[in-house]
Structures are given as structure tokens and as C-alpha cells.
């Protein structure tokens, strides 16, 4: 049994089925609108499949994960997750969502629903007060979402930010660009960067600070000051 393509909304396209039955599932399920975004039909189909073979439900869900993962990970980080644990927490959010997919109202915003789950997970993590917390220091995390400032309802369009960021980084001096590249692509710490660039660790930290600030200002210039409240 596969998702019914009869529920396609206007402008949505379904790929042609292929010989492999498993592939057939994937292609028939991958409904996307003209902008390449998953349509509500997917959610309807996934919800309808709650009592059907798990393979179909899983395929539906994978499309949703692919669409929402980047923004959700950024949201989890903004809530105060340590960079090394962001993916782990975000995966947990998707696991919870998978379990509760049947309860989701597919007329609602799926991204917002995910962010709500993420917020609850982070709250639970804070309550645990575990020695090996996956969050930043409690004092910082507590302030970050003070008065519910990181609303699941208001969130950024990450492709737009990434585009703006790519442009802003391209405008940086070559050495600053290289420093950023090394810092984030290779996850290199300041002392190692200092050796590579023949600078002091303090200078590297200072340069990174200035570069980050310059990029942030550049993005504000492109997207407006309140691109993220």
C-alpha cells in the first residue's frame, strides 16, 4: 500500500514510480510543491498510514526530517544546546515526533510543532540537572529563553539566512575567511588555529570575534535587524 497521489494539492508534483517496490514508495510519497517544500499531503498520507506497514510511514517521515532538520538544529542550538549535542537533541525531537505523528493536526505548522517538542526536551534536560548536561551552563540557558523569547511560532527561514551568510562571508578578507573555514569546517580550536596561522591564541580569538560580529552585522543589513528576535 502506498500514499494516494489523489490528495495532491495544486502545483504539487509526484515523481514517476519505478520498478523497485521500495523505490516506488519513496517516489510516490515525495510530494513537493513548486518551491520544493513538502506539502500537507505528505502529512495527511503519513497520518493515514499510522496503522499501515511501518515502511511507508518511515518513508513519509524521512522527507519531513530532510526538510526540517537544518532549522530545527539551529533552534535547538539557540535554546542553549552545546554545539556537540545539537544533533543528538534534534534527533530526539524527531523520534518523539515520529512516535506522536498520529496526534499531529496536519493543518498546523509541522516546523512549529517540532520546535515545541524541542523546547520541552530542553526544559526536561534542564530539570535533570545532570552532571553531563547536553546544554550550556544553566545560567546562560536560563537567560537565553527568558520570558519565552525563543518562540516556536516565530522562526527564521534558514535557506534565506544561509544565502545571506554565504554572501557576507564571501565579502570578508581572504585570511578571515580562511580562519572561519578552519574554525567551523574542521572544528579547530583557537590554540591550533594560532599555530597554523602563526598568531597568538588571543589574536585568533579576537579576530574570530570581529569576523563573527562583521558577518552578523552584514546579515542584519541584508535581512533587517530583527531577522531573529
Amino acid at each position: 500500500m502506498i500514499c494516494d497521489s489523489g490528495s495532491l494539492p495544486n502545483g504539487a508534483q509526484a515523481s514517476q514510480p519505478v520498478a523497485n517496490p521500495r523505490e516506488k514508495h519513496r517516489h510516490t510519497l515525495a510530494f513537493r510543491d513548486n518551491k520544493g517544500r513538502t506539502t500537507p499531503a505528505i502529512l495527511t498520507a503519513c497520518n493515514a498510514r499510522m496503522n499501515t506497514p511501518t515502511i511507508a510511514r518511515k518513508d513519509c517521515f524521512e522527507d519531513l526530517v530532510r526538510e526540517h532538520q537544518a532549522g530545527l538544529r539551529a533552534y535547538v542550538r539557540a535554546l542553549g544546546a552545546q554545539d556537540a549535542w545539537v544533533d543528538d537533541l534534534a534527533q530526539e525531537v524527531f523520534l518523539v515526533a515520529y512516535r506522536r505523528l498520529g496526534h499531529f493536526d496536519d493543518t498546523a505548522d509541522f516546523g512549529r510543532w517540532l520546535r515545541g517538542i524541542a523546547r520541552n526536551l530542553v526544559l526536561n534536560e534542564r530539570r535533570k540537572n545532570a552532571r553531563r548536561s547536553r546544554l550550556l551552563q544553566e545560567s546562560i540557558v536560563g537567560v537565553l529563553d527568558d520570558n519565552g523569547e525563543i518562540e516556536p511560532t516565530k522562526w527564521v527561514s534558514e535557506p534565506q539566512i544561509v544565502r545571506a551568510m554565504t554572501d557576507c562571508v564571501a565579502d570578508l578578507p581572504a585570511r578571515s575567511r580562511e580562519l572561519l573555514q578552519q574554525r567551523y569546517a574542521a572544528d579547530t580550536d583557537a590554540p591550533t588555529l594560532a599555530r597554523a596561522f602563526q598568531l597568538s591564541a588571543a589574536t585568533v580569538r579576537q579576530t574570530l570575534l570581529r569576523t563573527r560580529a562583521a558577518v552578523r552585522r552584514c546579515i542584519e543589513g541584508k535581512l533587517g535587524e530583527a531577522w531573529l528576535s
Partner: protein, 238 residues
């Protein structure tokens, strides 16, 4: 409010170098100024998205693969673990080995197996060497002594048979020759008097008597003098 200090603490936070006291200091600054809270959130979001773009292991595909694994683990529970245990060696191995060489290569790719394989190979090589080496050579002994007659000099037999008398300090040992296997030409009349000689051969025992399967006999240097270290025996195991 000190902007420089705020930026310094921000940098330490991003580098994971923020102490608890500095964390409290930064939290106080953030609490006092909403624009700084926004700035921190913006930084966290920006550089998280940037890291996702720059790091292959944090790509969408990698994330999806990790989610798949966790979903599968959740769905299948215990059977997932059992399946994983079965798959671990198979996934990391090369394609099914069809030749002896291929099989060995698969074994050598794992450190623990490599250690076992090396031990087995060394032991096999040692056995191989042992089999190749003439066993006579392993027990070959050189005796420095005198050739004597068991009848005329030792008065032990009626037959005139050669024996080797070896003085080892205060001890005298008699080795009865076994000329049956390799007939020898005595280097003189061993009935008349002891003949100094050096004999090479294999030592054995029978009924408490020392036997010597002689391979070569050479004249020794008279007078026979005791060795510098009387307990020392010259052995050539190889």
C-alpha cells in the same frame, strides 16, 4: 556596560572555555540587556547553520542517516541489537573472500585478529623449522676424551668394544659407542692404551648406560687436559 568584556566572554563561550564564574558574569550581562540576548541567539543560530554547511559529517544526509538508525533501533528494539551484532563484522569486512589469500587479508585487517594470526603464523613457522631441521643435529654432542677398550681397559665385557671415557672434573663418564649405525675407524689400538680423541655424535641412554651414536672421531691432543670449566659441555644444537 563593558562591550569589550561582553565580546570576550562571548568568544570564550563559543570556544567552550567559559568558567562557571564567567558564565554567571555573562548571564548577568545578558539579563540586563535584551539586545545582547538577541545578539547571542543570532550568533548561535548563524554559526550553527554555518557549521552544518561546512562540515560533511553534519550534512543533511548524515543527519538523516543517524535519524534512520535511531528510528530503526526504536522500532525493532532487541532485534535491532541482535541484527547490529551480526552486521558489525560483515559490514567492516571486505567482500566475501573467495581465495585463501583473500581470507587472510580479511583477517589481517582487524588488529585483534592480526595479533592472533601473527601468533599462529609464528608457531607454524617454528614447527616448520623444527620439522626441516635434522633431528640428529639437535642432539649432536662433541666429547673430548679417550677412546678405551671395554674389555682390556675397563674390564667390563669379554668383547673388545670401543668406549669413550670423559673426565669431567672429579667425575668420569663412560660413553659406550654404537658403531652399529655408522662403522668407525678407531684412530689407533684402543686396547693397548687410551687414545685421546674428539668424537662427535648423539648421546642416548639405555638401561642406565650412556650410549654414543658416533658420527665422527678425530685424534685429540695428548696429554688430555681437563677443560677450563669442568662442567661445561660443548653442544651444537643447530
Amino acid at each position: 556596560m563593558n562591550t569589550g568584556r561582553f565580546e570576550e566572554l562571548l568568544g570564550q563561550l563559543f570556544d567552550g572555555d567559559l568558567s562557571a564564574a564567567e558564565g554567571d558574569e555573562l548571564a548577568a550581562m545578558l539579563r540586563a540587556d535584551p539586545s545582547r540576548r538577541r545578539e547571542l541567539r543570532q550568533h548561535l543560530v548563524l554559526w550553527e547553520l554555518w557549521a552544518q554547511q561546512q562540515t560533511p559529517e553534519r550534512s543533511a544526509d548524515s543527519f538523516l542517516a543517524a535519524c534512520r538508525t535511531r528510528l530503526r533501533a526504536e522500532r525493532q528494539g532487541e532485534s535491532f541489537l541482535a541484527d547490529l551484532k551480526k552486521r558489525i563484522p560483515r559490514d567492516s569486512d571486505a567482500p566475501e573472500a573467495t581465495t585463501l589469500l583473500g581470507g587472510w587479508w580479511n583477517v589481517l585487517r582487524r588488529p585483534a585478529r592480526f595479533a592472533w594470526a601473527a601468533s599462529v603464523m609464528l608457531a607454524a613457522f617454528a614447527v616448520f623449522l623444527w620439522l626441516l631441521t635434522p633431528h640428529d643435529a639437535l642432539a649432536t654432542t662433541t666429547l673430548h676424551g679417550e677412546l678405551v677398550c671395554t674389555a682390556c681397559i675397563l674390564h667390563q665385557t669379554h668383547e673388545h668394544l670401543p668406549a669413550i671415557r670423559v673426565h669431567e672434573g672429579a667425575t668420569t663418564r663412560i660413553y659406550y659407542l654404537q658403531p652399529i649405525h655408522r662403522p668407525i675407524q678407531p684412530p689407533g689400538d684402543f686396547c693397548a692404551a687410551p687414545i685421546p680423541m674428539v668424537a662427535t655424535g648423539k648421546v642416548g641412554t639405555k638401561n642406565g648406560r650412556l650410549l654414543f651414536d658416533v658420527q665422527a672421531v678425530e685424534p685429540g691432543s695428548p696429554p688430555l687436559s681437563p677443560p677450563a670449566n669442568p662442567d661445561e659441555r660443548v653442544l651444537f644444537p643447530f
